[in-house]
C-alpha cells in the first residue's frame, strides 16, 4: 500500500518538476529563474528520500542532506550574482 503511494508521489513530483524546469528556462526575470531552480532542488530532495524508501536504503538520506546543503549555497550564490553581478 505505502509502496504504491510513494511510487505515485514520486511520479507526480517528477511531472511537476518539469513545470518548474519550464519556468526556469522561459522565466522572463532572473528572480523567476532563481526561485524555479530552488524549487527544483527542494523537489529533488523529496524524490531522493522517497526513492530511498522504495529501495529500502538509509543511505539516500545522506545524499538528500548533501543536496539540501548545496541547494542552499547555490541559492545564496545565485541571489548574490543576480543582485551584485559578481562575488
Amino acid at each position: 500500500m505505502m509502496q504504491e503511494i510513494f511510487e505515485y508521489t514520486t511520479l507526480c513530483l517528477l511531472a511537476t518538476t518539469l513545470l518548474c524546469l519550464y519556468r526556469a528556462i522561459v522565466g522572463p526575470e532572473p528572480w523567476d529563474r532563481a526561485i524555479a531552480i530552488n524549487v527544483v532542488g527542494t523537489k529533488t530532495i523529496i524524490i531522493v528520500v522517497l526513492i530511498g524508501y522504495l529501495f529500502d536504503s538509509l543511505y539516500f538520506v545522506d545524499v538528500a542532506i548533501v543536496y539540501a546543503l548545496f541547494n542552499f549555497i547555490l541559492t545564496v550564490a545565485l541571489s548574490k550574482q543576480i543582485e551584485f553581478g559578481g562575488l
Binding site: 543511505y59 545522506d62 545524499v63 542532506i65 548533501v66 546543503l69 548545496f70 542552499f72 549555497i73 545564496v76 550564490a77 548574490k80 551584485f84 559578481g86 562575488l87
Partner: protein
C-alpha cells in the same frame, strides 16, 4: 569592481548557524567513508564548501582573514604526505602499495584495514578541503580584482 558583502540579516544569521553543522557533516562523511556513500573526497568538498559559504556571505576579505595561504598549502601537502606515507609504510612492512592489512599494528587484520582506510580518507579530505578553499579564493579574487597579492 569592488567587493560585495551580503547585507541580508537572514542570510548572515542562517550561514552563521549552518557552518558548524556543515563542517560536522563533512567530518561524518569522511569518517564513515568505507560504510556509507561518500568518502574522503566528498567529505573534503563539504568541508571546503563551508568556507565557500562564509566567503560568499561575509565577503572575500573576511574569508582571507580566516584562512592563511601558507597554512592551506601546508595542509594540501600534508594530506598527500599522509596518503603516500601510509602506502609506503605498507610497502616497508612487506606488502604491496596500499595493501592495508600489512601494517604491523597490535590489532587484528580487519581493524588494521579499517584504521588504515581511515587515515587515507583523512589525508584525501585534508587535501581536497584546502584545494577547494584555495581555488575558490583564487577564482573569486580574480573576478573582483582583489588578486592574490595581499593574501
Amino acid at each position: 569592481m569592488g567587493e560585495k558583502e551580503v547585507e541580508s540579516l537572514v542570510a548572515r544569521t542562517i550561514s552563521r548557524i549552518m557552518i558548524p553543522f556543515i563542517q560536522l557533516f563533512g567530518i561524518y562523511v569522511i569518517v564513515h567513508g568505507e560504510t556509507s556513500p561518500g568518502g574522503g573526497f566528498q567529505g573534503g568538498v563539504i568541508l571546503g564548501t563551508s568556507m565557500i559559504l562564509y566567503g560568499i556571505v561575509y565577503g572575500l576579505s573576511k574569508a582571507k582573514k580566516r584562512v592563511s595561504k601558507k597554512h592551506l598549502i601546508i595542509l594540501i601537502s600534508l594530506g598527500v604526505l599522509i596518503y603516500s606515507g601510509i602506502g609506503l609504510m605498507d610497502m616497508l612492512s612487506g606488502g604491496k602499495y596500499l595493501q592495508y592489512d600489512s601494517l604491523p599494528l597490535p590489532v587484528d587484520a580487519h581493524e588494521t584495514t579499517a584504521l588504515s582506510i581511515l587515515g587515507v580518507e583523512l589525508g584525501i579530505g585534508l587535501t581536497v578541503m584546502s584545494a577547494t578553499i584555495i581555488l575558490f579564493i583564487y577564482l573569486a579574487g580574480e573576478r573582483i580584482g582583489a588578486g592574490m597579492d595581499n593574501w
